[in-house]
Structure formats: structure tokens, C-alpha cells
Amino acid sequence: MLQYVARRLLLLIPVVIGILLVTFLMKALIPTDAVTAIYSGTLSEKDAAEAIATLRAKYHLDLPWYQQFYIYVRDLMSGDFGESIRLRKPVMDELGYRYVNTIILTLAALAIALVVGLTTGILAAVKRNSWLDVTATTIGLFGISMPAFFFGLLLILVFAVWLRWLPVVPRGTMALLLPAVALGLIEAAPISQVARTSMIDVLGRDYIQAARARGASEFALVVRHALPNALIVVLTLVGLQIGNLLGGAFIIEAIFGWHGIGELAVNAIEWRDFTLTQAIILISAATYLVVNLVADILYAWLDPRVELNS
């Protein structure tokens, strides 16, 4: 198992280099350069030219691209993500706490998605074609078709504006409630459907009938025998979904005013703050890599048929 993890980590190296290149090159691909964007129209022609030259030098924009890339990677290695052009402070000062906020939101949403998705999916499979199954499947269809941000707006409208159970802009833990529910319920829909399908598949297998023949109760059949098999499929989906959750969090955070990296990203792009944008993309990509790695390791752990040494 350790060997497997080590090999997976080694395989990450080229991926990380690729990500670094892409985030770096983004800067070159965008039509305006940061410094020009900041100063255009705010100073006279001559002053602007001078200030721009100084700043270009400061951000190494006057060097050839490969030297810029070298400096970029070297600074990253020493934990220096650069200074935000707009906020005039190290990117990490802002990014650090916001990253934690986003992780909190994502985990809360994931927990809701798993609890709701697995419960309804498994119950729907066990009570197939019952009213519960039909209801869950119908609601699930809405969940799959609806974008999280639209659902989030609906929640605000219903609970904050109409029912007035929550303030429109809540503070503290309450602020987590609506965005986590919005994200979590939307992601619960595909989990529920996949859990139902794979559970129905597994419950029809020979080994379930064999376990029934040796006296396992229907509850034991579902929990002890079928669930571990069905979870393998669900896990594959959840690994992919965490990416969705992070992406969904970007928009949801902006809507609910949750101070995570998503909200910051939306602002950073508006500000044409390249260092900030780069750092956000980098850290999101790194998170995605780690999540996939963890999902793959869990997958190998759950399914003994996955050959670890091939």
C-alpha cells in the first residue's frame, strides 16, 4: 500500500510542473498586463510611463519569459506566492484564512451531500418502486438539472426574504448554513442516483442471495454485504464531485458573501490582480490533486480487486 502511495506521489510531479506552466502562462495570454491595467487613466502620460517602468521591473515583467518562470517557481518553492497587486500585501496573508473558509464550506457541503445522498439512494434501492423511491428520484432530477447558484438564490429568497427565518447576510456559523445546504443538496442528487443504481445492482448479485441463504437478515444484507460493494462506485463519483464542489463554491461564496477563495477569485479577476489569481488557481489545482489522490487510495483500500502492484 505504501509503495502504491509513493508511486502515485511520484506520478504527481509532471502534473505539478504542468500546472505551474499553465498558471504562469496565463499571465502572458491575457491581453492587458497588470501594471498597465492599474495605471491606465489615473496618471498623466509621462508620470504613468515612469511608474509603469518601475513596477514592470519590480514584477520582473521586463525579463524574458523563461527567466520569469524560473523566478516564479523559485519564489513558490520558498513559500513566496508574490504580492497582491491590488491589496498591496503578500498573497498568502489573504489567501490563507480564505482557503480555510472554503475548505470548511466544502466539507460541510460534502457531509450534507453524503448523508442525504447515501440515505435516500440506499432507501430508494431497498424500497424500489415505492413512493419513497419515486419521490427521491423526482427530486433528484431537479437537483441534477439545477445549478447550485440558482438553488442558492432560491434558498435566500425563501428563507431570508419570504420566511425571514435567517438574515439575508447572516454572520458566524449561521452564515455557513445556507451556502452549505445549497451546495450539499445539489451534490446530493447525483450521489443519491448513483448510490441507488449501484445498490440495486449489488442487491441482485449471487453473493447477496448466498448470504440470504445462510441466514443474514435483510438489514445485515444491506449494511454488511451490499453497502461496501456499492460504496466503491459512489466513492469514484465523490472524488470527481469534490472538484465540482470547489467550483460550485466559487459562485456560491460570491452569492452568500462567504469569505472564501471563491469570492476572492471573483474579485481578483475583476481587479485584474494576476498574482492573486495565479495563486488561487494554483492552490485550487493542488487541492484537486490531493483530493483525487486520497480518493484513489481509498478506492484501492475499499476494493481488494484493485491490483496495487501492477
Partner: protein, 355 residues
């Protein structure tokens, strides 16, 4: 018309007036098909199994013998359903058991093994976990004791290095080993009845003999009755005390193995035996086949399901065959057939036939 050699062997079955271990009467299992049609995979089956007896249940693919085997344990899942009949195990009605009683009964008193042993083992659970499960759930043994019990059980069914094999996963076993594991699980709590549904069909010929031997020896040692479902007459001849032949969901003939194989009364049984290769038979001799195929069970007429393929009917031109169901005819003691053409070969009181 038939050889009158009544081989008198010690009867292993239950004596007449003692209650058999398992008594099945009028069992009918139905499947609802799309479009409202119904298919009776098992029709009005009467069958007894005595304590310690090995009963061979023979039939072609699609004759309903697997569904019958599953019906006994009430394992048939929707859209299938046992719609009529009674199953008495040591006098207790299986059909009236609650879910809880049923679980307990399946776990302790009966065991079942299947045709595809590898797909009957849970792919994500260790072998030891699966063998220990009955000990853990039914016997309420501690984890440690159950695990030790699993090692002993694996050793008893001839798995080499059982201390290591308990840690293996099903995909790491061969088919023969997997069937040994299934036998170990089924016999873990020393059941009184073991149902083996085509236990050697999916295995190598060389392994088949070993598994059959293991089954016979294990059942003899534990005093367990065995219902051996198979399409292989050779298997039946080697192991069974008694044989029942199934065709289109009905038991068409039933009797002690000696007389059934040497003097079958039902034209279908005669056909089956004629179609089986004999050891020492001259090469190049064509085996006799039974013309036609098994009928569509959802479109059976009023008469005998075998009538369209039946030589005897054609020969004797019996009209009743296509008009009504034949009633059981007693051929000799403990030997009966469901056929208009079959005749009792000796004067036997008919009370032997059905309960």
C-alpha cells in the same frame, strides 16, 4: 414391459410412519411476466427428504429445479413468488415463519451452495470474515473464537494453509477452492439439510469428483440430509439414495436410485437415461436424444407438458395426455411416476404415493 428386478437395499429414507425431515406438498412457484402473463416454474410439487438421506433432483436446464431449490428456503425474489403449497421442516411450517425465524432457520438448520461459487462470495470481504459470519451472527461467538472457527472449518473442507487462506479475498481462490469455502460456510453450524444447486457444474472435471466426495463425506459425518440438484445422471448414480426427475416444473418420477436408473417408468426418465453416455459403451454408437425442447412454461396447455416430445404417447396413441394432467402412479414401493403410460410393475397399495 419392464425388468422386474426389485433390488432390495437397506432403505436410507424415512420409514413410512416417521415424519420426514422435510415434507413439501403442492409447492407452486410463479413468476409474473411483463404484460400480466404468469409462468409457473414449479407446479404442485410433492417431495419428502428423510434424515441423512441424499436425494438427487435431476432435470434439464430450465426444468425449474433451481427455482424449486430456492423456493424451499423461501429465497425466491420478486417477480417470483411461492403461491401455493406447504413446506414442513421437522413438522414446522416454513411458509409461516416470520422474517426473524426464517433467518434463524436458514442459518442454523439448512445450508445451501450454488453453481457459481466464486460469484457467491462477497468480493470485498476476506474469506475468513465470510466463513466466520454464521458463527458470529448465529452462534454469537466472539470475533476471536469465530475467526479460529473459520480456520478450523477451512481445514475441514481441505483448504491448504487455512491460516493464510482466511486472509485471502475471493478473487484469489480457484473455483474448486471457492466451492470448498462455500461448503465450509454452509456446514459451519452443522445443518440438518444441505441444498446443493449444481455444485460441480462450473468446476473442472477433475475437481468435480473431489467436491462430490467432500459433500458426501461431510454430510455422512454430520448426519446432514442432502438435496443434490443436478443435470448429471452420473453424479446422481454415484451419490444419491433416491432420485426425483423434474420436467417443466413438475416431478415426473421419483424413486430409489437403483430402480430409477435400471427400470425407469416415465418416458422422460427413459429418454434421459438413454441420452447419457455409458462407461464402456462402444465408440461411434450414437446417443439417443429426446426430440424437441423444453416447452415455454408460460404457454403450457392442459395436458402433460412432455406429451409433444413423448414416444410412449405417439406409440400408444393416448388421447388423455394432451387433455389432462396425469396423476401419480405407484410403480413399486417408494417409486412413483406422473404418466398415463406408466404402469405399476407389481401390486402395490397406492397409499405409498403421496402423503
Amino acid at each position: 414391459m419392464m425388468a422386474m428386478q426389485q433390488i432390495e437395499t437397506p432403505q436410507t429414507g424415512s420409514p413410512k410412519n416417521v415424519q420426514p425431515l422435510l415434507r413439501i406438498t403442492g409447492l407452486t412457484t410463479e413468476f409474473r411476466l411483463e404484460g400480466g402473463r404468469r409462468l409457473q416454474a414449479v407446479q404442485d410439487v410433492d417431495l419428502d427428504i428423510g434424515a441423512g438421506e441424499i436425494l438427487g433432483l435431476v432435470g434439464e436446464s430450465g426444468s425449474g429445479k433451481s427455482v424449486f431449490a430456492q423456493s424451499i428456503l423461501r429465497l425466491v425474489q420478486p417477480p417470483g413468488q411461492v403461491v401455493a403449497g406447504a413446506i414442513a421442516f421437522e413438522g414446522r411450517s416454513v411458509m409461516d415463519m416470520s422474517a426473524r425465524e426464517l433467518s434463524r432457520w436458514r442459518g442454523r438448520d439448512v445450508g445451501m451452495i450454488f453453481q457459481q461459487p466464486q460469484s457467491c462470495l462477497n468480493p470485498v470481504r476476506r474469506i475468513g470474515w465470510q466463513v466466520a459470519e454464521p458463527l458470529l451472527l448465529q452462534e454469537k461467538l466472539s470475533r476471536k473464537a469465530a475467526w479460529a472457527g473459520a480456520v478450523d472449518l477451512l481445514r475441514a473442507v481441505g483448504i491448504p494453509a487455512p491460516e493464510e487462506k482466511v486472509l485471502a479475498y475471493p478473487h484469489q481462490l480457484s473455483g474448486g477452492q471457492a466451492q470448498r469455502v462455500m461448503i465450509a460456510i454452509a456446514l459451519a453450524l452443522k445443518p440438518k439439510l444441505l441444498i446443493a444447486d449444481e455444485p460441480t457444474t462450473a468446476l473442472d472435471v477433475t475437481i468435480q469428483a473431489q467436491i462430490l466426495e467432500l459433500l458426501r463425506e461431510s454430510c455422512r459425518m454430520l448426519g446432514t440430509s442432502l438435496l443434490l440438484v443436478t443435470h448429471d445422471l452420473g453424479v446422481v448414480a454415484r451419490l444419491a439414495d433416491r432420485v426425483a426427475v423434474m420436467y417443466a416444473g413438475r416431478i415426473v418420477e421419483e424413486g430409489p436410485v437403483e430402480t430409477m436408473l435400471t427400470a425407469p417408468a416415465h418416458p422422460y426418465t427413459q429418454g434421459l437415461i438413454g441420452a447419457a453416455p455409458q462407461l464402456g459403451q462402444a465408440r461411434g454408437v450414437r446417443l439417443k436424444d429426446i426430440p424437441g425442447t423444453i416447452p415455454d412454461l408460460s404457454r403450457l396447455g392442459a395436458g402433460c407438458a412432455f406429451a409433444p416430445r413423448c414416444d410412449a404417447r405417439a406409440g400408444q396413441n393416448l388421447e388423455s395426455c394432451t387433455l389432462s394432467q396425469p396423476l401419480p402412479v405407484s410403480i413399486r414401493p417408494r417409486h412413483r411416476a406422473l404418466c398415463f403410460a406408466a404402469k405399476a410393475s407389481s401390486a402395490v397399495s397406492p397409499c405409498e404415493i403421496s402423503p
